[in-house]
Amino acid sequence: MLKISDLCIEQGSFTLDSINLEIVNGEYCVLMGASGCGKTTIMESVCGLRLIKSGKIEVDGINVSDLVPAERKIAYVPQDGALFPTMNVGQQIAFPALMQKKDSATINELVKNLSESLNISHLLDRSPDFLSGGEKQRVALARALAMDPKVLCFDEPLSALDEELHEEICTLLKNTVKNRNLPCLHITHSRKEAISMADKAYKLYNGKMERIDLESERSV
């Protein structure tokens, strides 16, 4: 479970105040808002990449606000996946396990299992430059799952994909969250995407979060 209480972030003259959010395991939460409203700032703060002024971030009841990103167990998948350009797909997926100093047999097993489950086994030797948008997202997801996360964070994962892939990756992300029973925070600027994917959705406007009534939005 991810719980954010009274989070306050200051970035120069830009302030986000009283951010409260609770996402239970297996729940798909979408945070939407216009470009530049601070969605990514919130996500980066949750992941530990940005300092917070006050408030608390809890993962499974443990306060992680003062922990470094590596200790938070929060997987972060940015817009284009941010695949490391000097590593092939296999090395990308093995990377978190290598950092955890796991033995090579365990790492090989992990890469095999994840690549099979995300249908990217045939891409293991390929460089990120030779992957399509959908394949990049799959690899980024596999790499994020390889660290055995407790929370999944997706930063506009569908914005760079065409219509066909959009549907495919939507289903993949939703299934991954359900199957792994993890809390998921997904940010997007698309209202349509938020309504179609979310179990719970929020809108960020003028530095404040307000909940969206999905039932009424879907019935429109």
Binding site: A75, T86, Q100
Partner: protein, 324 residues
Amino acid sequence: MLVVASVVYLFKAPYGKAGIISKKGGIVSLDWQKGGANTITVTAEDGSKEVFKVQLEDELISKDGKEVLQKKDSIIAEDGEKVRKGGRLTINELSGWDAVYSTMHSPEIQYSALISLISCTVSALLSLWIAIPAGYLLSRFEFKGKRFIDGILDIPIVLPPLVVGICLLALFNLPPFSYFSKWVVFEVPAIILAQFMVACAFAVRTMRVAFDRIPTRFENVALTLGCNRSQAFYNVTLPQARYGIITAFTLAWARSLGEFGPVLVFAGSTSFRTEVLPTSVFLELQAGSLKGTLVISLLMIFIATIVLILARIFGMRSDKGEIC
């Protein structure tokens, strides 16, 4: 165009009678002094002999239907003297190939080429050693005095090179540096230090630009995947900066190779000790051997081009992910 001009001048026919060099080296015998012909005989160690006909007096000769004065050979070799391979027997201007042969077989030039290669490589590596962390620090972090450090790094670039050498000389005359001066000043470390002072500034600038061009999101993702800052730097950022590293190394190396003023002031120009290729050019020019100067200059251009080509090939391979 300048290179072509140098090559054309080098291989242009010498003015007047061409100078003579010994291709094998050995003991010189001035035969006319022993009642023989007007020849110089050089006897090599293996017993083989080179015989050169020389002209002892000016004479009028017929050339293209005109009478022209042919100057005598200005002989500099002495009877019984041992000359090296490529050693000069007369002082007249050499033909192009003879100038190349003579210069390339000169032990002083061979030593200065070797010391240049070694000192350039060491100073370029030292520059990288400073440039990688300094470039990363300046690119990624905001801290007090950053602008000041940024400005200081530009000083060696804008300072006249000779002044850098004089400043180094002054520095090593003051404690605590003066305690080390007997091992540094006018010794090989002085060459490396003089080259490093300027090359390092260029390397830091290059590395900063290289790190600026790598988005921070890769490092951010690596941090969330279980890395600490140094692991993210070594595993994610540094491999992406490899082309910048190669460029910085090449730039520092090439800059070091051409460094003359600070080296001359701080390290001197002692043969077989602190003579580097630019100093050799200067010494050859002082000796009035323009063709010798051109040979060394072309050698420097050749070395620099080879390094540039190797760096490009290596860089392109790295770019394709073959070498990480």
